[in-house]
């Protein structure tokens, strides 16, 4: 099933991390694409941007942010959006996205992905905000389901229903983080398979995989280890439904060698529902 915008299935990619810069530049490893954390490159003219520009010459780059705060009741930060747009142009980003969340209010920033109540009022508000941002950026936003740790009492719909309606009404794309589906469902006593039934796959542009920390009473989305088997099983199901989607492994803490991260990523091959993986190419 293609996505609505015919965004390409980039194959298997890794989150670009500082500790891997030298390895990538020196070895030009066989990886299909990279995803960057947008904010790490928006306010610098130092080495990160210098390295990114070299990598962007060899690999497709997707941009993924953590600070758009699309669900915040603070005004839209157009200065932030301008820098985001400039960077997207500079590295020819194939798409750019963020999370369905808020990161702060009243001018403060908590540097975390905070949940929103899933109800009609929030939905209407979010849809309006997404449209404003998409108009400014002149491209669809690809928004990710976050890992959440609490449920608001005034939520009236399940997360997947909220995401589905949000994506339809705002005409935006989805980044389906399969690990987040697992973490959120564990934290809210929900069935992840049922969650996946509610996702509009024609709007899914990208998939995330990651490890997490199981605290027993709840899970934390730490991105500090390999993907666990139940998440691989969910991923296989998503791939069956999508028929091949750009898949990205995130590893942000206790980051291993590039080769180890790559080996973890390549496990996804056995679950992919596409016969051919694209080779790394600037022109996708």
């Amino acid at each position: 099933m293609p996505n609505l915008w015919n965004f390409p299935d980039l194959g298997l990619g890794l989150g670009l991390r500082t500790v891997h810069y030298n390895y990538i530049l020196e070895n030009c490893p066989s990886i299909d694409w990279f995803e960057i954390l947008s904010e790490n490159y928006m306010d610098t003219e130092g080495r990160p941007l210098y390295v990114l520009e070299q990598i962007a010459e060899r690999y497709p780059i997707a941009m993924h942010g953590v600070s758009m705060s699309i669900g915040s009741t603070d005004p839209v930060d157009f200065d932030y959006l301008r820098k985001l747009k400039d960077l997207a142009q500079r590295v020819a980003a194939v798409w750019l996205g963020d999370h369905v969340c808020w990161t702060g209010v009243a001018g403060r920033n908590g540097h975390d992905l905070y949940p929103i109540p899933y109800n009609e009022e929030t939905l209407a508000y979010l849809v309006e905000r997404i449209r404003i941002v998409q108009d400014f950026l002149e491209r669809p936003l690809i928004l990710e389901n976050p890992s959440t740790y609490l449920t608001f009492a005034n939520s009236t719909m399940r997360e997947e229903e909220f995401l589905c309606r949000m994506a339809e009404e705002a005409d935006c794309g989805l980044l389906l983080d399969v690990n987040n589906v697992y973490v959120t469902c564990r934290n809210h006593d929900l069935d992840p398979w049922s969650y996946l039934d509610g996702i509009p796959y024609d709007r899914v542009v990208q998939i995330h995989l990651a490890g997490h920390t199981d605290k027993g009473t709840h899970c934390i989305d730490t991105h500090d280890g390999p993907v666990i088997d139940p998440v691989w099983e969910l991923y296989a199901d998503v791939e069956r439904r999508c028929g091949g989607r750009a898949t990205l492994l995130e590893w942000d803490a206790k980051i291993p060698s590039f080769a180890e991260a790559q080996a973890e990523l390549l496990k996804a091959k056995s679950f992919r529902h596409t016969n051919e993986l694209p080779h790394a190419s600037r022109h996708v």
């Binding site: 904010e39 130092g46 403060r108």
Partner: protein, 295 residues
């Protein structure tokens, strides 16, 4: 807000106040401010946040509060590793918690978070051992963060300086690259920072003025100790003074030997251009009664 999102706004303000309370979510719930901010008519936590099978409402909300201070601590410890070394784990955590409570982040970029940390350590932080030394260390580590991200400008070569006609030298104004900071400190902190980063023990040195340049060359950040003459010369150039007036200032310093300054200055500029410190050289036309050609 484009719609009437007053309920969502109240929830967000309330939740943020709880998460960012330095004494924890429970304490915030108990205090009057959080109670006044409670968005519901029924003033219970459960009326806003549902429990799960495993965790009650407080425990669920506290996950965000714990992560907030954990993340702030991680970010500051990464930016200020020598300060972290000096204070130790527990004190640094307390200081980071107090700092972000007094100076909460207002920008999406994490690199801005520590911008007020040196001034905070110098003045606001309570009961800080070796306060002045710690603040000097923080000043250098913050400068390193600043130059890491500063605007990138191509430096000029030494040959471009030597190509300037001799008679124009005194009028030359050299522009220093944006990724450059000059620091006048009360302690010789530079070697201490190096020792900590190389995992070597070094006692905290006695107070003594020191001068440090922090700059970026080929996308690497460097720290170098300067003597007072070189420091003042670079300061004057940084302020936009001409080379002639900067050298006059340098040579007039009480400790300076003018003849030696004039003897060494060529080597200084050779070294500084090799380090990529200058990005432009400009000078005014020199007019004389017999020759009106410009330099």
């Amino acid at each position: 807000m484009h719609r009437d999102m007053s309920e969502l706004n109240r929830i967000q303000c309330w939740m943020q106040a709880l998460i960012m309370d330095p004494d924890g979510v429970q304490s915030a719930l108990d205090n009057a401010v959080a109670a006044d901010m409670h968005p519901g008519s029924e003033k219970s936590l459960e009326s806003l946040v549902l429990p799960s099978k495993q965790l009650n409402s407080l425990e669920r909300l506290s996950i965000y509060g714990d992560m907030y201070f954990w993340r702030i601590n991680e970010i500051l410890a990464e930016e200020f590793p020598t300060v972290r070394h000096l204070l130790g784990k527990d004190l640094f955590e307390n200081v980071a918690r107090d700092y972000v409570t007094r100076h909460p982040s207002t920008h999406y970029s994490l690199t801005r978070l520590g911008s007020k940390f040196p001034a905070y350590l110098a003045g606001e932080a309570a009961d800080l051992p070796d306060r002045e030394f710690v603040a000097d260390v923080a000043t250098v580590e913050r400068a390193m963060e600043d130059v890491f991200d500063a605007q990138n400008v191509e430096p000029i070569e030494f040959e471009e300086l030597t190509a300037i006609p001799t008679e124009c030298w005194s009028e030359v104004r050299l522009q220093i690259i944006p990724a450059f900071r000059l620091l006048k400190l009360q302690h010789p902190v530079n070697s201490y920072i190096t020792a900590v980063r190389e995992d070597r023990h070094m006692d905290i040195p006695a107070a003594a003025r020191s001068f440090v340049a922090v700059y970026r060359n080929n996308f690497r950040v460097w720290r170098v100790d300067l003597d007072e003459q070189r420091f003042e010369l670079l300061c004057a150039l940084h302020r936009g003074q001409s080379l002639g007036s900067a050298l006059d200032l340098c040579a007039s310093l009480p400790a300076a030997d003018p003849a030696r300054v004039m003897n060494d200055v060529g080597d200084w500029f050779r070294e500084w251009t090799a380090e990529g410190l200058f990005c432009d050289a400009r000078w005014e036309a020199v007019l004389s009664a017999t020759d009106v050609s410009s330099c």
